[in-house]
Every structure is written in structure tokens, then in C-alpha cells.
Symmetry: C2
Subunit: 247 residues, 2 copies
């Protein structure tokens, strides 16, 4: 058996990840701050302030901001700095529809014949989900859900698809963070856990259509209705979409 080959193209029996660069660390920290809501939508992101907070100098921080922009979490205005992206209902429409398309593509590619190693990743994500749900960790549910769905998409063995899905997933978490406190009345944690387990079992039994049916469960879109209360539709598309969801 071949020894694993790491990103450096070298064989290594003990795989040591590359030491993370300041850029990566800063990007990860910023992502967390945005997804946890510590940086609110529309809030200015001033470079010099963050250098103090994160203990990084400006060049790597600026590279991190570039990454966050590509991920759609911040918006950079030339010579006016960056702001945490403000997501309108039209943005939510875009995020949800694109996400559904990508996930559907992944399931169609992957589920017919699933690779065991990738399935193990999905199982692991499910177990984390269930453990945190059992512990009542409502605060981790969006993160855990994102991991599960990302692993689901990962089954397809399609790196570009997975990468696109990852970025969209971050933006979705950003919306859901905004509604975290307003989530009362929605689906319970245990219900959601059960839904994910059902989905996993249907993947195992290679029933493509059943998985897709599970994905289109309208319960997963209930947050949109809450979101729409504070963000009225500004485009015909998002308006029509909202109407179709409200039925």
C-alpha cells in the first residue's frame, strides 16, 4: 500500500498538515466572527482595527479579506474598505435556489454507487450532529448541519461542486445566524436530527429519489419566512419565490 501523499507531493507515513499561514488563520477567524454574528451585516471591517484584534499585520489580513469576498461574506468597496455583506431577500433566494441545484446534482451523481470512504465521512458528520442535538447544543446546529450537507455533496467526488457548495453554505449560515434568536416555533432539534438520519439511511440504500424528496422538505426553508418579515422582497423573482414558499 502506498503511503499517503500530502499537499507537498511528498510521501509521509505521519501526515502533518502544513503550518497554517497568518492569512488562513485570519480568514478562519473572520469567518467565525461573521457566522457567529459578532460582526453584524453591514458593519464596516476596518483593517487597522482587526490587525489589533487578530494580532496580524495588514498584508495577510488583506489577503484574508480577498478570500472572504470570494466566499461572498464581505463586500469590498474600492478605496472605501470592506463591509460585512448585507443579504437581502433576493440574496436568500439566490442562495437557496443555487444550493438546491448543487445538492441535487451531487445526489444524482453520488447516490447510485457510493464510495465507502466518503460514506464514512457522512456518517461521522451525522454522529456529530446527533451528539450535539442530544446535548441540546442549539448553537451548533447550523454548523453541524452544514457539515452534514457538505459531506453529502462530497459523496459525488466532484471537488468544484463541493467547493461551490461550501461557499454557498457559508452564506446560508450567515442568513440563519441573523434569525437564530427568532427560531422559536420552528422544527425542534430532535426532529431535525431524525430527518438527517432518515436522509443518511436513504443514501445508504442508494435510493436517489427518496434522498431528493427528503431534501425538498419545506421545513428546512421555514427560516425564510422569518427572514422575509424584516427583509421585504425587492425583486420580482424573490417576491414570486416567497409567494410559492408561503403556500
Amino acid at each position: 500500500m502506498n503511503a499517503p501523499v500530502n499537499a507537498r507531493g511528498r510521501r509521509a507515513n505521519v501526515m502533518i498538515g502544513d503550518p497554517p499561514s497568518m492569512t488562513d488563520l485570519a480568514a478562519e477567524a473572520l469567518r467565525g466572527m461573521i457566522l457567529r454574528g459578532e460582526l453584524a451585516q453591514g458593519e464596516r471591517v476596518v483593517e487597522n482595527q482587526l490587525t489589533g484584534t487578530l494580532g496580524v499585520s495588514r498584508p495577510p489580513l488583506r489577503e484574508a479579506l480577498r478570500i472572504l469576498q470570494q466566499e461572498g461574506l464581505i463586500e469590498q468597496l474600492p478605496r472605501r474598505g470592506a463591509v460585512v455583506r448585507v443579504l437581502s431577500l433576493h440574496d436568500v433566494y439566490e442562495i437557496v435556489t443555487l444550493r438546491t441545484t448543487l445538492e441535487t446534482m451531487a445526489v444524482r451523481l453520488a447516490v447510485p454507487g457510493t464510495d465507502p470512504a466518503r460514506l464514512a465521512r457522512l456518517r461521522e458528520a451525522l454522529e456529530i450532529w446527533e451528539a450535539n442535538a442530544a446535548a441540546g447544543r442549539e448553537d451548533l446546529s447550523t454548523e453541524d448541519s452544514a457539515r452534514f450537507h457538505l459531506a453529502l455533496v462530497g459523496l459525488a467526488g466532484h471537488s468544484r461542486l463541493e467547493e461551490a457548495y461550501r461557499a454557498i453554505g457559508l452564506q446560508l449560515r450567515m442568513c440563519m445566524q441573523l434569525n437564530r434568536n427568532a427560531r422559536a416555533g420552528h422544527e425542534s432539534l430532535t426532529d431535525r436530527a431524525a430527518r438527517h438520519r432518515r436522509m443518511f439511511e436513504r443514501v445508504e440504500s442508494a435510493d436517489v429519489e427518496a434522498v431528493l424528496a427528503e431534501l425538498s422538505d419545506p421545513a428546512s426553508l421555514s427560516f425564510v419566512l422569518t427572514y422575509a418579515q424584516d427583509h421585504p422582497p425587492t425583486t420580482a423573482q424573490s417576491q414570486a419565490w416567497l409567494a410559492s414558499l408561503s403556500q
Copy 2:
């Protein structure tokens, strides 16, 4: 009528674009070098050499490289620099399948009722295509084709979809550049122009299924067979895909 509002959020009767940053200029220049094949796949991209070539200092150049990485044109190896991405047949499989999914989604969203302004953009792209085809500018055909398809996707009014499609389109152009010289025997320039005009007319007549049928024309994938001659499939997926195309 409201005065136009530029990116700075200010109203202006005479709109002046923001002065491009060195980062943007460097990114655009690098994109061109890769898409024209001046930087070959696998070639190292050394920062200090490019600062001389482009007349930019390293910080903006590094930010440009981050952008190119997100677009999938280069690959950055920690502490070992960047190389122009090498695209295997599996990569081509990923690019083409994802592209088809995105374009299909766009057509389904857009064609039923098309916005006149967006249609004008598509018409303009078509006219550029036809003008360059009439002039025998084979060298511009990939660029013109990319513009047309991007405008087609733009009909949907879905910025994230368009952005994802744009990035995938760049990677596709990168593959096709590699096969530019080996294109003899494929579809002629005038045939391709005619195909694009047919597609435009079908969009105008709002016939979704006809547009999709046009998009799935196997002639547009003929380059893959050439590509496969030098890049044998390395994954089961790409192998199966290639077989399905060869029929």
C-alpha cells in the same frame, strides 16, 4: 428619473468608474497570460519574476494570485509558491458537468420571461461573435463564446449563479486553449456562429426546452475527445463519462 448610482453609493450624472487597483490589473493580466497559453499548465508562477513583468510590487500581486486561485486558474502550495493549474481529464469532467448544470438552471429560470435589458446584452454578445467569426478570428472564438454563454446565464438575474458560471468558464477556456492547435477537423467557425444564432432565436421565442436541446449539442464537447488523447482518465467517473461521450 433617478440619477445613476455608482459603486460608491453616490448619485452621479456623469459616471466615472473607480480607478482600477493594481491588484485588479495584475489579476486581469495574469488571467490573460494563462488563457492565451503564455503561461503553460504546471508552470511555476514566481512572484518576484512577475513583479518585474507587470510592474507591480508583491503585495497587490499576491492578492491577485489569491483571486486567481479562487477562480481555479492557479494552485497555491504553502511555502512552495504557485503553479498554473494542471487540468486532468477528471477536472475537465468536473468543469463540463458543473457548467452544464449551472447553464441549465439559468435557462430554466430565465427563458420563460426574459428581461429586455438582459436580452440586449445577449444580442450584443452574439453580434460580437458573428463579427469576429466573419472576420475569421478563430483566436477570439473561445473568448466570444464565453461572453455569449455568460450573457445567456446572466438572463436569469442570479448573481451567484453568474459568478460561479464565470469562474467555471475561465477554467473551460483554459482547457480549450491547450487544444487550440489541435482543433482541425472540428466544427467550423461559421457552423458555430450559426448554432449560437439559433440559440439566441430560441431564447427570444421563449422556448426553454429548445434552448436546452441546443445546449446539449454534442458538437460542443468534441474538444474533450482530443483532450483525452493526452490525458487518459484517472478516475472511474471521468472514464465512464468519456465512454458516454465517445458513443
